[in-house]
Symmetry: C2
Subunit: 463 residues, 2 copies
């Protein structure tokens, strides 16, 4: 059955069940569905979101709650009776609880934390104490640990005893009495080993740990390079503090990329989904960059006023302005997104600056040369069909345009590729060198290049 | 120890060990390192890449090989003696083997497939038979399956027997005699259950399966919404064909976003890392869009030629052209990246088109209004300090510019937000509505808007 068909029939069933107002039947129906299907039903029936969560067992309610988007989560928390909210928040795994609290205003966070149990409150405050976007914020203390002189059958006993409350039992952690991390062992190795074997016999001492203050992007990179479903988190003394599971990393990778794309497009990074964001808040995120760019473009007015006499003499010159400046903007946009992207993937670092610039000079010359030839060809052919458009000096004009395009594209490529490097060097986000920003930067210089070329090739002829 | 310090000391150790030319010592050293550290060493010592792989046990060699980037993989395959290549390819898990083969020219693929064992050849050809970017291409047939009347202790025996060669044992699959998928059970449930319990007693019948022809992006979405480390893959008759593991999904999510970002920047999606790509190949990916955009901008020349007389009368008009058209381009870039992004995350679909357009009309009016007021203010203040710049009709000019900016920004926002929707509707990739493409589209209409406003407000005064 296709996913869409399934969706429709689920929605119909839900409508039927909810219309029956039979509490038991609703509960039964909801408990029969997958977590993600419940989430879908909930999204499709906004009026019932509170009811749906309330009808689920608390364990399943938290599983659904944690995959919902923040704005829906907020509405549900508001809808639910206070005791249900408390139950839900206490049941939520620590990493998801912190992820939710992070999105709320401080005053509400303070109130909600008061409703937590002693243990939950302690761990929440501890995790909230780590820097934003650090590994500490997404780790969970619910893991299974053993000591190196435990036997395999003891390990299995420990897993049976503590595994229920732990986030994953796919990986077991070996520590010593000082809580220092010695190794991580996949549950596979445990199951495959003889029951009398000791842990230190199947240890290989090869483990990869994240530091609690590491950036979450680092964690994402480490997961990608190592075939693990969970990674241990330690402090600088190698004390095991918690683990990070790969499912949280999928979300982080997505968030990072979303922010990059939004910044490249010239908006501040949105912290809510596009459709959920109040119009005025979205306006504020967008208008800031537009104003900055607007003031940047004001410089083009001054720049062009220097050339008013030339334009007055050869009005034709003005007609090429959009072509010239947008060629620079386009090649700059290309170069900057390529470099931002390569930096985000770790393919290039600032140390490669010279290699990049060398490549981009060549690329700029090739790209600019191609467009220059095209421009020359177009004007020549145009002249054949309509000789009065460019007049008898059409070859001079063609030369002016061609050389300007070459110069502007080379310049755009250079600016676009070095700006992300420069921003990174200054400690800023390379993605902030948005395509509109690069285009605006190149506009002013593009005009200068253009009119210099016009002087060079048309002085004494048309100017 | 910080990651960087560790790196440096590893590199030093490697240099020492490799200089010793002691085969046993090199082997021992390499076998002591993590897979990702070996990969790092390999990247830092390109001259030794073949040697490093050759010195590893075949099992670890494949683990390293599969996380390397394609160009390094290709070089290594070329470097290694033929028998080593054969061994490596045969040992490589099917999903990684196919991922590698996909990147090679067909002729080489044919030669390499001949070197595979009978079983490996069969499964490889089968997987290569699924559509590109489909789930079938990334699935592995190495999973553990049981029947519903197996007991827990039988399941553990099966896991012990077949678990070694399977990609993951975190999830066990329950099938019937017709190979139809009945359920998936986490190994956790098995370990926690009493040994005499039967599988059908711990089954809950709730499973989520991917279809073998599903797009990989769908898989990525399903993983994100469901807390699983592996998902089963079935055909349309619910026959279990293989599984997909979450670590492959991390790479796919990254690839998708990279392609989106590159397209937004106005390049064709690159299939190799930026630095690894031959300059001329990179040139081809970039020049195509630049040429298309160049021809698009040629229309601006025709458009402006209609207004040559006006420009000749009021040269001042020309000086505002870059400001006007770039305001449209910038707001269009913003809108298109926001919508592309929201579509990639599934926050909006084509069905929301009316909601989006309504929002963007309001946003465009707000943003355009803001810039219009700014423009009016700037010209007025400018006039106070330098009355000769805009002359006595500065208010008329300010009005022309303001209204034009409002119109162009509104238009840019509309075009930028509807183009990705339109592309999607036509079955194309929304990300192809790159920021340079939107900017170019808006340039021509921006000029028309501008000169229409000039006629409206300046006719009979300056024109």
């Amino acid at each position: 059955m296709s996913v869409e068909l399934e969706q429709i029939s689920l929605q119909k069933q839900f409508e039927e069940v909810i219309a029956s107002e039979d509490k038991l039947r609703i509960q039964e129906f909801l408990n029969d569905q997958n977590i993600s299907d419940v989430a879908d039903i909930l999204y499709d029936n906004e009026d019932y979101e509170g009811q749906i969560i309330a009808h689920l067992s608390i364990h399943r309610a938290t599983s659904v709650f944690k995959i919902l988007d923040t704005s829906t989560q907020k509405r549900i928390i508001k809808d639910l009776p206070a005791f249900k909210t408390t139950e839900l928040l206490n049941e939520l795994p620590i990493d998801d609880r912190v992820a939710f609290l992070e999105e709320l205003p401080t005053s509400i966070v303070r109130d909600l934390i008061k409703t937590l149990g002693v243990e939950e409150r302690k761990e929440t405050l501890e995790v909230l104490g780590y820097p934003e976007n650090s590994v500490g914020r997404i780790m969970t203390p619910d893991y299974v640990y053993v000591y190196e002189d435990n036997t395999v059958s003891e390990v299995l006993d420990i897993v049976r005893k503590f595994g229920k409350s732990s986030e994953t039992i796919d990986v077991i952690y070996v520590i010593n009495e000082k809580d220092e991390l010695l190794d991580d062992i996949r549950i596979k190795e445990i199951i495959l080993a003889a029951p009398t074997k000791k842990v230190n016999e199947i240890m290989d001492g090869r483990f990869i740990a994240l530091n609690v203050t590491d950036d979450q992007e680092v964690a994402s990179e480490v997961f990608k390079m190592n075939n693990r479903v969970a990674l241990p988190v330690t402090d600088k003394n190698n004390i095991l503090l918690g683990i990070v599971t790969i499912d949280d990393i999928l979300w982080i990778a997505e968030e990072e990329y979303s922010e990059d794309i939004q910044k490249i497009g010239g908006t501040e990074a949105l912290d809510e989904p596009y459709t959920e964001m109040p119009l005025f808040k979205l306006y504020k995120k967008r208008v800031i960059w537009l104003i900055i760019l607007f003031f940047g473009e004001l410089i083009t007015i001054s720049a062009m006023q220097q050339f008013q006499n030339e334009i007055a003499k050869v009005v034709l010159l003005a007609t090429f302005i959009p072509l010239i400046i947008s060629s620079g903007g386009n090649s700059g946009s290309q170069a900057s997104t390529l470099i931002i992207q390569a930096m985000a993937l770790g393919e290039v670092t600032i140390a490669d600056w010279w290699k990049i610039i060398r490549r981009e000079i060549f690329s700029g010359l090739l790209l600019g040369g191609t467009l220059a030839l095209l421009g020359f060809g177009v004007i020549t052919v145009w002249h054949l069909f309509s000789p009065q458009t460019f007049g008898i000096y059409y070859l001079h004009i063609a030369l002016t345009i061609s050389v300007s395009v070459l110069g502007v594209v080379l310049w755009g490529t250079l600016v676009g590729s070095t700006l992300p490097l420069l921003l990174k060097r200054l400690g800023a986000d390379p993605a902030a060198s948005s395509t509109p920003f690069v285009a605006t930067l190149v506009d002013v210089t593009g005009l200068l290049i253009y009119f210099s070329m016009a002087f060079l090739f048309l002085k004494g002829i048309l100017l």
